[in-house]
């Protein structure tokens, strides 16, 4: 219940508290500070330009033709028509600023209005706005601006207004997606139910949520507008009497061999202006949305791992000792999610690795498979398979173990198949990687046989199907077939039945049990379900908060659990009167999604 209450609370209050720190974040970010200051200076120069400029931008004087820098009265010299470069430069700033303001306002007004409408309204309206905006987006923008010159007369203000329309689809998309994602949030529902009119919901609740992406996009669009306007003015579009960077660059470009320095001033100011806008936009993004997801650092490489304390020779098939796994925390320091985990799995044995979400059981399983996310670091311990230290293996040697000696059945069958390849292609690739030298034909024959073995009645059809064309239960059978194709010594099954229908669950467990008996595999079954453990496991390892709290024979543990946590877990099952069936899938712990 408490979860519902927090979800209904409008996020405005907490976000206001966040805003405080956004300003502080920006002030601490050197990029934002530098870009912001440059921008401020340019804006001040632009606003004050009518007073700062000593000459009329179009006043030509014969004395000033190509005057060098430092000529009295012409600080930056004169251009080839004898106009004061500094004055023209200063007076070009307002042109650029107007450009940005017009283009961005038009884009924001259109994009945001229709984004709100498109996201919030019925399907038919949504389809038509979507259609119109993808149409706008496909237009060759610059070309359209040019083609319309006979109508606009090249006036940069009208041109930029049209350009704003062309930029609107980007904002429309941003707003629409945000609206779609918050539309069904509980607080919006709550507002709707309590009779708040739609217009107010949109204006107050939804617009508030989308403001930061809009601000960020606006900064980038302002840069784009200024760049495009400069380009058009460079081409000679519009009145020659309007001073602008583009026109100055064009004049200087024509005059390049006489005085290349004339090209430097407008180029530098234009570059500074757009660069500071874009960089400020980038800093704003970091400050408002948090840094974008980093694609993992390479920190796990080269970190030294402590050896386990217990150095006795391993006798079990799979021997995990003192395993510790850490992830970099928000402060960059490693934070352990698994500590001192030790257990063994004997040949042909079935061991249940049990614990609630976040207990570290999946992380432990992944470390045995050697498929931890890249940012994870194994800080301590050892994992031995038949005396071979898996943690010391190179990626190449690990590949030889994975698939051939250790296999894996995942939790969610659908997401574990590549949507772009047929079942057959994926199975054949898998077995051919595990068994080098196997021909395509042999691989196909083997997999066909296995598909039949795992209970698929029409293997031919399934073989040539894409994952989205088969059911979840079927997909899980396919994944099992893929896992046991090489008769592995150890099969690691991570909640293999959790995502399936209740009727299919028992069949899949039976299948795993049968295959185990047939192939003599050891099975490490990761689960939170004591019913499943009771059903097929002989031994149980109970984990809580990254540690093993109890390990033993299933019957012993069930009869007389020694650890209070295990006792709690078991008694909660007994309270329900029976061994529980699987609840709907709970989201994986945060650590697994890192």
């Amino acid at each position: 219940m408490s979860a519902n209450i927090t979800a209904v609370v409008d996020p405005i209050t907490p976000k206001d508290a966040v805003r405080e720190s956004v300003t502080r974040k920006l002030l601490r970010d050197p990029q934002a500070l530098i870009a912001g200051s440059i921008l401020l200076v340019i804006v001040v120069l632009g606003v004050g330009s009518p007073w700062f400029a000593s000459h009329d931008p179009n006043a030509a004087s014969l004395d000033a033709v190509n005057a060098p820098v430092g000529t009295p009265g012409y600080l930056l010299g004169g251009d080839q028509s004898g106009r004061d470069i500094l004055s023209r430069l200063l007076l070009s700033i307002p042109t650029s600023l107007f450009t940005a303001v017009i283009g961005v306002s038009v884009a924001v007004i259109i994009g945001v209005t229709f984004g709100l409408i498109g996201g919030y309204s019925r399907k038919t309206v949504q389809t038509s706005t979507e259609w119109v905006f993808s149409l706008i987006q496909t237009f060759p923008g610059l070309l359209l601006l040019i083609v319309l010159v006979p109508l606009t007369g090249g006036d940069y203000r009208i041109t930029m207004a049209i350009f704003g329309v062309l930029l609107a689809p980007g904002l429309y998309r941003i707003v629409r997606n945000q609206v779609l994602s918050v539309k069904n949030e509980l607080y919006v529902d709550a507002a709707r139910v309590s009779g708040v009119p739609d217009s107010r919901i949109l204006g107050r609740h939804i617009l508030f949520v989308v403001r930061s992406p809009i601000i960020i996009a606006a900064a980038f669009l302002a840069g784009a507008c200024i760049g495009i306007q400069a380009g058009l003015a460079f081409l000679g579009l519009g009145s020659t009497l309007v001073p602008s960077f583009g026109a100055m660059i064009s004049d200087a470009f024509a005059n390049f061999y006489t005085d290349p320095l004339q090209l430097v001033w407008p180029s530098a100011l234009l570059g500074l202006l757009t660069a500071s806008l874009v960089l400020l936009g980038n800093s704003l993004r970091d400050a408002l949305e948090g840094a974008r997801p980093k694609s993992g650092s390479a920190s796990s490489r080269g970190t030294t791992r402590q050896a386990p304390q217990n150095t006795a020779p391993s006798v079990a098939l799979l021997d995990v000792r003192d395993l510790a796994i850490a992830y970099p925390g928000p402060d960059g320091k490693p934070r352990e999610v698994v500590s001192y985990v030790s257990f063994t799995v004997g040949a042909g044995e079935t061991v249940g690795l049990v614990g609630e979400s976040g207990s570290g059981k999946t992380q432990t399983a992944f470390s045995v498979l050697g498929v931890l996310p890249r940012e994870a670091i194994v800080t301590r311990g050892s994992i031995q398979l038949g005396g071979l230290e898996l943690l010391d293996l190179s990626e190449k040697d690990k590949r030889a173990v994975r698939g051939r000696r250790i296999a894996y059945i995942p939790q969610e069958p659908m997401s574990n198949l590549d949507p772009s390849f047929t079942i057959g292609q994926q199975l054949v690739e898998g077995i051919r990687c595990a068994v080098p030298g196997l021909s395509r034909r042999e691989a196909r024959a083997t997999m066909m046989g296995l598909l039949e073995r795992v209970g698929i009645t029409d293997p031919d059809r399934v073989f040539s199907s894409y994952p989205h064309q088969i059911s979840g239960g079927m997909a899980q059978r396919v994944l099992i077939a893929g896992a046991v194709a090489t008769r592995p010594e150890v099969l690691i099954a991570d909640e293999p039945t959790t995502a399936l229908d209740v009727t299919v669950q028992a069949e899949i467990l039976d299948l795993i049990r049968e295959l185990q008996a047939e192939m003599g595999m050891a099975v490490l079954l990761v689960t939170h379900n004591f019913g499943v453990v009771a059903d097929i496991c002989s031994r149980i390892v109970v984990m809580q908060s990254g540690r093993v709290v109890e390990e033993g024979d299933v019957r012993d543990v069930f009869a007389s659990p020694t650890d209070p946590y295990t006792q709690d877990l078991l008694s909660s099952i007994l309270d329900e009167g029976t061994v529980r069936l699987d609840p709907p899938r709970t989201p994986e712990p945060v650590e697994a999604q890192k």
Binding site: A275, I406, S420
Partner: protein
């Protein structure tokens, strides 16, 4: 699939009709002033009227439009009001120049973006940060400035490449490449920024997906996971970005061609539009609409081929 293509083409045709109709309507406002310009400053009212009727400007607008449209369907785009050139022909010649730059720019964009995006997503760390700086650099400076800087460095200072001008590929492939490589690089910079960040993001997402882990547990080599599986799944949205880039590059070519003095589509369009050369402007509209339709159609077909779920739509 054939039905799908046919439907998309029909839709494109309707779109083209609509757009040309609107353009025709909008342009009709300038017919008078164009006729006056053509007649010269001191022309009598009769001369102006004569020019109007000669060009059909005096007919009712729908009649004009359908006459023009009838010509288009026979491949007749009319003649330039100023140079008297056959418009279809003239555009064709310019189009090859622009297309050769744009296609080269597109190739550069794809190659660089795939490599950078893949590296950033797969390696992370320092490489990822470097790639992000590259992406930002692409956003930071307007193409115009980059063009001028490249001309200055490579053509004027180092004299490695010609600063301006165009050689056809048939007359000398080497000179052709030298004449289009700089403009193509300039055009590709914005595209590289967009496409790299798209691929980097999509690849990062893909590599976190469950199927990637399962493939790893089967002993599938990293290279195959990256290129065969993850990149393929990330390619759909990247293709859409690429198609938008293609269209944007056609626009961007306008400015670039001017810097490099290439006799392309952009320079031609600009001259026609500013002088009010109506048949040329209309033909340009037709060409660009058809271009957009073709690019979108090709994108959709490729997307269908990449994504089995979209195939049966």
């Amino acid at each position: 699939m054939l039905l799908y293509v046919a439907r998309r083409l029909a839709f494109g045709l309707i779109l083209a009709l609509l757009v040309t109709m609107i353009t025709y309507g909008l342009l009709s406002f300038s017919f008078d002033s164009v006729a006056r310009t053509l007649a010269g400053t001191n022309a009598s009212a009769e001369t102006i009227d004569g020019i109007k009727s000669q060009n059909g400007f005096d007919l009712p607008l729908p009649v004009q439009y359908f006459q023009w449209l009838g010509g288009i369907f026979q491949g007749d785009f009319g003649y330039s009001l100023y140079s008297g050139e056959e418009v279809g022909n003239a555009i064709g010649v310019r189009l090859t120049v622009t297309l050769s730059v744009v296609v080269l720019a597109l190739l550069i964009t794809v190659c660089v973006s795939v490599v950078l995006g893949l590296l950033a997503a797969a390696r992370g760390g320092v490489i990822d940060r470097i790639v992000q700086v590259v992406i930002m650099t692409g956003y930071v400076f307007p193409a115009l400035l980059i063009a001028i800087a490249l001309v200055y460095i490579f053509a004027i200072n180092l004299r490695w490449l010609p600063a301006t001008g165009y050689t056809t590929i048939t007359s000398d492939p080497g000179d052709w490449l030298r004449s289009v490589i700089l403009p193509a690089i300039v055009l590709s910079i914005g595209g590289i920024a967009n496409l790299t960040s798209q691929i980097r993001g999509a690849m990062t997402d893909e590599l976190r997906k469950d199927y990637v882990r399962t493939l790893r547990t089967r002993g599938v080599p990293v290279s195959s996971i990256l290129i065969k599986h993850a990149l393929r799944n990330a390619a759909g949205p990247a293709l859409t970005v690429l198609s938008l880039e293609f269209v944007a590059m056609f626009g961007g070519a306008l400015i670039i061609e001017r810097v490099f003095a290439l006799p392309g589509f952009g320079v031609y369009s600009f001259a026609a539009a500013t002088s009010g050369d109506i048949p040329v402007v209309l033909a340009l509209t037709v060409f660009s609409v058809m271009l957009v339709i073709t690019v979108n159609l090709v994108t959709d077909i490729l997307n269908g081929w990449l994504n089995p779920k979209a195939r049966l739509v």
